[in-house]
């Protein structure tokens, strides 16, 4: 089970990013637990400067804008 955190204050892009992660994981058959982190202090503690951010198993893989689905597939497969 991969632990995915989507960092963002709750804007539309953050919600879309979380949905993209879930959809890509379902497509690949990778079990994931997607959690949205909306608290500003918690977001800041990951050291990013733009949202949405994506953290997989504690590692920040993406920040700012929507991820590309081929990148998502690569991160989830790693």
């Amino acid at each position: 089970m991969k632990d995915v955190k989507v960092l963002g204050p709750g804007c539309k892009r953050c919600i879309t990013a979380a949905e993209m992660v879930q959809a890509e994981a379902d497509k690949l058959g990778v079990p994931v637990k997607v959690e949205k982190i909306t608290d500003y202090a918690a977001i800041a503690s990951y050291g990013i400067a733009s949202t949405p951010g994506i953290v997989i198993d504690g590692k920040v893989v993406h920040a700012g804008g929507l991820p590309k689905s081929e990148d998502l597939a690569r991160w989830l497969a790693a």
Partner: protein
């Protein structure tokens, strides 16, 4: 990661890249051809309505029929270009460039990077904390936060399209100057203790993101994405703004505006700044109005001050920033930026007689 996985491949100019670049070139040529036909198109629209072109209604119609497609087309081009340019930048890269920079040079760099770094207002708080906690000085962070919304491609593109390149360049230079000087002044005040407590207590290390591998196709797509995103969002504002501008063009008597917003009235600059703060519009809605005001004899300095105030100082942004700044710091921020805008307004009215 296994050897030879997709991510290891370097960007290459394959057949699909050539195809994308070819279509981009075709689109640019088509754009130029259509753009050159806009004057005959507007004349045709006015002629088709059988309205006397010299009448109030005729002037308003001609303004609307010419300006709407012209502005939308120029905006699309500028936003596409900026979308491609911005794919080379990110807030994290900008932060790495700014961290530990001295004030002064840091303010200049921050304000300049504010133009090209992709930034959306919903990211303002994470960006602010991300910058400050990674060692970007407070004043330098402010220079970025002032420049990013004020000196943007929508404002510059529309000014260029409607008012001409001289005013657009002027706005660019003085918008940057306001951002640099205001950030520097705020930095001199040493107000770090006026940040909210929880912000000061965050000790986060700036995260190094895995390097992105963007191909030419990715960058063209980023430009198209920007067009879809920005033009798709601002076009109703533009049409509303052009309609307001068309009304001013056709119906508002020139003497009235020259009296209220002309150079003779010294108080019009502070009034423009104060009125501009609560008005929340983006550049798209305000610039067609700006153009019409200028055409009716309002002074350039007064109009620029009004525009900068509307775009740079807005209540929604202050409410967002209130999460990280104390009221006192917000007051200082508004005061310093407002004073800078005021100075630009007076300077212009004095320089351009």
């Amino acid at each position: 990661m296994s050897i030879g996985s997709i991510g290891e491949c370097p960007p290459s100019a394959g057949p699909s890249a050539v195809k994308w670049m070819g279509w981009t070139a075709v689109a640019l040529v088509a754009w130029t051809i259509v753009y050159s036909q806009l004057v005959p198109f507007a004349d045709w629209v006015v002629a088709a309505t059988h309205v006397d072109p010299k009448s109030h209604l005729g002037e308003a119609l001609a303004f609307f029929a010419y300006d709407t497609p012209k502005v939308l087309m120029l905006l699309t081009l500028v936003v596409f270009g900026m979308g491609v340019v911005r794919s080379f930048f990110s807030p994290e890269k900008t932060r790495a460039l700014l961290a530990g920079k001295r004030e002064g040079i840091g303010n200049v760099l921050a304000a300049s990077l504010g133009i090209v770094t992709p930034f959306c207002s919903c990211s303002a708080v994470p960006l602010f904390i991300g910058f400050v906690s990674a060692g970007v000085p407070l004043g330098v962070t402010f220079s970025f936060l002032i420049s990013a919304p004020m000196v943007n491609e929508v404002a510059l593109g529309l000014l260029f399209a409607l008012v001409g390149w001289k005013v657009a360049v002027t706005y660019l230079v003085f918008g940057l100057a306001v951002a640099i000087v205001s950030g520097w002044v705020i930095g001199r005040f040493h107000l770090e203790h006026w940040l909210e407590d929880w912000v000061r207590n965050i000790r986060a290390n700036a995260t190094e993101l895995p390097p992105e591998r963007l191909t030419v196709v990715d960058r063209i797509k980023a430009g198209l994405e920007a067009v879809k995103d920005i033009v798709g969002k601002v076009w109703p504002w533009i049409i509303a703004g052009i309609a307001a501008g068309a009304f001013i063009h056709g119906y508002v008597p020139a003497d009235l505006l020259a009296t209220i917003m002309g150079r003779g009235a010294w108080w019009s600059v502070p009034a423009a700044v104060v009125i501009g703060i609560p008005i929340y519009s983006n550049a798209a809605g305000i610039i067609p109005v700006v153009e019409a005001l200028l055409a009716k004899g309002a002074a350039l300095g007064t109009v620029l001050a009004f525009m900068m105030s509307v775009i740079a100082l807005s209540l929604p942004e202050m409410i967002i920033l209130r999460k990280v700044l104390t009221i006192r710091l917000i007051v200082v921020f508004v005061g310093v930026v407002g004073a800078g805008i005021l100075a630009v307004g007076f300077l212009f009215n004095a320089l351009f007689q």
